[in-house]
């Protein structure tokens, strides 16, 4: 803070404002473009809906559909082309397209290459009946796409009573709303205010007061810009709605007075529909925009913008701090001074940041939302659920389920069952691996024992086999009907066991598999440590009168410790995360009982497609591992001496 000179404070202020206001303007611009686009689309929908209304009435009256179609395209200024599909008769009922006109009189039978139109009408019919059946708006009943830069195609269902019998395809020229950017651009007053306040900085003493003044100016400027931005958004929205209302009135007056159009056809509010064909009611029959209603509907978007602006402001303040305290300068100096070192580190660091650290933080972020396969395209901020995912994982302690008849069963899907099973799995495996490995190492360390190299090379083999292959081999050997293990049991006169039908036999199978592949690691580590114990130690122990047991207790074990402790720590983490064995051998059978945390998380993500829930689950796993890591660090003080 001491060195918060005027120059640095100003530099910090400018950096913060450029970043904060620049990014905010990007968001604002994008939001305004979206609003303009949706107003333009709404104008096209209004035109198409007006045309569809008239056409449906003409068809019901038995009028000339083709004549009306041509008349509508001529009367409505933005309507370029119109086509009516009668899906129930598989006919092209009317059209203004040149290619259709050349093909002969209407109605025409739909040709093979026109099947897409028929399918589209059927799709709308299905969407409408789904929405009616479910009593809610879920499937789109209005199809919209851009056919050229300034041409929109709207497809609406054509009704006969309550039945969709066809579709109306309208190509319209885009009607853009007026430019809503009235008033000063948001950043000009902000910058003026900032410059004015800059004068004050000279009067303030250096250090904290100057730094704080700069911070206040940054915050005020950003706040002003954000509120001006929110107002502009509201304004854009209202202008857009006004444009739709005006357009509806234009359409209405273009149709009014024509002999072939009824007064009933001219209800402007009926044309103002959303993509589910539900009335939007944003303006009345006189074309007066319901400002309150529009603003209410916009509250959520504005709240979202405020949140975004807040986050950006925080970012800008961080940058202000970074520059104003001279930290940025130091960073820059360090970058230049150590440029070759950073040059060497940067490729690996970029890779790590993009594909290890960023995914990690994104995973943590995801865990606070409700993202599934079915809403991947929805923006993340719509799906915020806070700690719900964590609560539903942690708070459900119902491991034992009591059925209606009073019988009790274990709920294998419960987190605490899986956690308990994972711990059981880890402890048993590490115990077996360590005991077996250590025993074998002690035996192989016996002097003058013959064939040692032979034993050693054979016993190390399971470690060399890729573990997914090991897993699948053992899965085959545990096969109920054809597996060799059941054959051996039957040789002994036993009954074949259905290994994956009870959790304890299933557990035995995975334990056996993992034991087979994990003991060589411990054996090799222990053997290496044993061979490095100098013989003098044993001699000294013997001179001191130590017996065999004492020599083992006071010489062998302490010498093994430095190698064995890290190996045990490592194998605990490995076994805890041993995905392949569980996933490939028991597959969690029966009913998820032998799932460990990590396979459970995988299945939640890629079989149930609940991405966020799986992310929260993974964070819990990570926290468990972290607690374990901290604990073992304390116990072993293993981090010393980096």
């Amino acid at each position: 803070m001491r060195d918060a000179s005027v120059g640095r404070t100003v530099a910090g202020l400018i950096t913060a404002l450029v970043i904060g206001i620049g990014l905010m303007s990007l968001i604002l611009g994008e939001a305004r473009r979206t609003m303009t686009r949706s107003a333009t689309e709404q104008n096209a929908v209004v035109t198409a809906a007006a045309a569809a209304d008239v056409l449906a009435r003409v068809r019901d009256d038995g009028g000339d559909l083709q004549a009306m179609t041509v008349a509508l395209a001529a009367a409505l200024p933005d309507l370029e082309q119109l086509r009516v599909i009668d899906a129930s008769r598989r006919q092209l009922a009317a059209s203004t397209h040149a290619a259709d006109l050349e093909a002969g009189d209407f109605p025409q039978r739909l040709k093979r290459e026109q099947k897409g139109w028929f399918d589209q009408a059927k799709e709308l019919e299905a969407a409408h009946s789904t929405n009616v059946m479910e009593g809610k708006a879920r499937k789109d009943e209005v199809l919209l796409r851009a056919v050229a830069a300034d041409r929109l195609e709207v497809v609406l269902p054509l009704f006969d009573e309550d039945q969709v019998t066809g579709s109306v395809q309208a190509v319209t020229v885009a009607v853009l709303p007026a430019d809503a950017s009235g008033g000063l651009p948001g950043w000009i007053p902000v910058l003026a205010a900032a410059l004015l306040l800059l004068g004050l900085l000279r009067l303030l003493p250096g250090g904290w007061p100057r730094f704080a003044a700069g911070l206040v100016v940054t915050a005020v400027a950003l706040y002003l810009h954000a509120s001006l931005g929110a107002d502009t958004l509201t304004n854009t929205r209202l202008v857009g709605e006004q444009s739709v209302a005006d357009h509806a009135l234009d359409v209405s007056s273009a149709l009014r007075g024509r002999p072939d159009v009824d007064a009933d056809d001219l209800a402007v509010t009926r044309w103002n529909i959303d993509r589910f064909r539900v009335g939007r009611a944003t303006f009345d029959d006189a074309g007066l925009v319901a400002v309150g209603r529009v603003e209410d509907g916009f509250d959520r978007d504005r709240g979202r913008f405020r949140q975004g602006a807040f986050v950006l402001s925080l970012l800008a303040v961080v940058f202000y701090y970074w520059v104003a305290t001279g930290w940025a300068r130091r960073t820059g100096t360090a970058l230049v001074k150590h440029r070759s070192a950073y040059g060497f580190v940067v490729p690996a660091m970029i890779g790590m940041i993009l594909l290890v650290f960023f995914p990690f933080f994104y995973g943590v972020l995801l865990s606070f939302f409700n993202k599934t396969l079915y809403n991947v395209n929805q923006p993340l901020y719509d799906l915020w659920v806070g700690f719900d995912n964590y609560v539903s994982i942690i708070a459900d302690t119902g491991v034992v389920r009591t059925a209606e008849d009073g019988s009790r069963s274990i709920n294998f899907q419960n987190f605490y069952w899986t956690l308990g099973f994972t711990i059981l799995w880890t402890v048993s495996n590490v115990f077996i691996g360590t005991t077996l490995g250590l025993t074998l190492a002690l035996i192989l360390n016996v002097k003058e024992l013959r064939f040692k190299p032979f034993y050693r090379i054979i016993l190390i083999l399971p470690w060399a086999v890729p573990n997914y292959i090991t897993a699948l081999i053992w899965k085959g050997m545990f096969h109920k009907q054809f597996g060799v293990i059941n054959q051996v049991i039957q040789i002994g006169g036993g009954e074949p066991i259905s290994w994956f039908d009870a959790w304890y036999t299933s557990f035995f199978a995975v334990l056996m598999t993992n034991g087979w592949l994990s003991f060589p690691f411990m054996m090799v580590i222990a053997l290496g440590a044993l061979q490095s114990i100098p013989n003098d130690l044993y001699e000294a122990a013997r001179v001191d009168g130590a017996g065999r047991v004492q020599a083992f207790r006071f010489v062998t074990l302490p010498s093994l410790k430095p190698a064995l402790v890290p190996a045990v720590i490592l194998s605990v983490v490995w076994t805890f995360n041993m995905f392949n064995i569980i996933y490939l051998v028991s597959q969690g059978e029966p009913a998820g009982a032998t799932e460990i945390l990590i396979t459970d998380a995988y299945k939640i993500a890629f079989e149930q497609y609940r991405y966020s829930y799986a992310a929260a689950y993974s964070v819990v796993i990570f926290l468990i591992l972290m607690v374990y890591g901290i604990w073992q660090n304390k116990v072993t003080k293993a981090t010393e001496g980096i």
Binding site: F360, P466, I569, F576
Partner: protein, 293 residues
């Protein structure tokens, strides 16, 4: 430990060791038997409806009823296993090149330069080793498949594999670079060589053994990896060998144990040979990493 000699007779030790050897080699013999049986069945022989004990013993002895290499021929000609092996080989080779490049440069910087962020960088590499695989799996899936559209694409898998191998390789290489005397570089610096020249012309040639181990390690990791490949590679033609082998016996369709066994042997032999050759280096690297983690 000569004092243990007189306590336990060697006979018992040999007995135990022989038992362990049998347990160890049986699954390997089993897979060899299935592979050379020429059929898709799990059983080595066809059991009669009411088998005698002798029949059952015959069904347990790992020797096929008739020896045939048909499974090896068929797994390449009837199944796209050759394609899967090729996928694995391409991905593993590219991963090796990229992983070695990233790890040697970073390892060199951590070993030779003292710069702000060095310690933080090294620690962050270590900590990243603690992230369980599935924690980043969902975000990685979203990033690779949905954002970058690299699902069922070599590049996606190569990027993932080379970054997951970085921390271990960097630490291993840093340890090795630390042992190279600095005098060599200092004299080169005197002669006006740039750090890049020193790295490429002096350090890398001197570290051939460590670079080779890193390369082989990266290759093995990529060759044996299963979960990421299963998640990212959707199209059957883009499976890697592990995903393909599981496809033979893991699905709901008829299980083809013969193809699996033959394919496993082809896929496992090179890495097993590599492993046995490499084990010494890997063990020292692993324990060093663990002590520091």
């Amino acid at each position: 430990m000569s004092n243990r000699n007189d306590s336990v007779p060697h006979f018992w030790l040999h007995l135990f060791l022989v038992f362990m050897v049998l347990v160890t080699v049986y699954p390997i013999l089993w897979v060899l038997t299935v592979a050379f049986s020429g059929q898709q069945a799990l059983m080595f022989v066809d059991l009669p409806p009411d088998p005698s004990v002798l029949d059952r013993v015959r069904a347990v002895v790992p020797w096929p009823a008739q020896v045939s290499v048909q499974n090896f021929v068929d797994v390449f000609s009837q199944q796209p296993f050759g394609r899967w092996l090729l996928n694995s080989a391409l991905v593993a080779a590219a991963t090796t090149v990229m992983g070695v490049f990233l790890a040697t440069t970073a390892g060199y910087a951590f070993s030779r330069f003292r710069f702000p962020g060095r310690r933080a960088g090294m620690m962050s590499f270590l900590i990243s080793q603690m992230f369980p695989g599935t924690l980043t799996l969902v975000p990685l899936y979203i990033i690779i498949v949905q954002w970058l559209h690299l699902g069922s694409n070599y590049l996606g898998l190569i990027l993932l594999y080379s970054t997951t191998a970085i921390p271990f390789c960097v630490w291993m290489l840093k340890g090795y670079f630390d042992t190279i005397p600095r005098e060599l570089e200092e004299s080169a610096l005197m002669d006006g060589a740039s750090p890049a020249v020193i790295f490429w012309k002096i350090i890398l040639p001197l570290s051939k053994p460590a670079v080779a181990v890193t390369a082989l390690f990266s290759f093995m990791t990529a060759w044996n990896e299963f979960i990421l490949a299963l998640t990212i590679m959707d199209q059957e033609s883009m499976y890697t060998a592990p995903v393909g082998l599981r496809f033979f016996v893991g699905g709901f369709a008829e299980q083809q144990w013969g193809y699996f066994a033959a394919g496993s042997i082809v896929a496992a032999l090179p890495v097993m040979a590599l492993f046995l050759f490499l084990q010494r280096f890997l063990i020292s690297g692993l324990t060093a990493g663990a002590v520091k983690g």
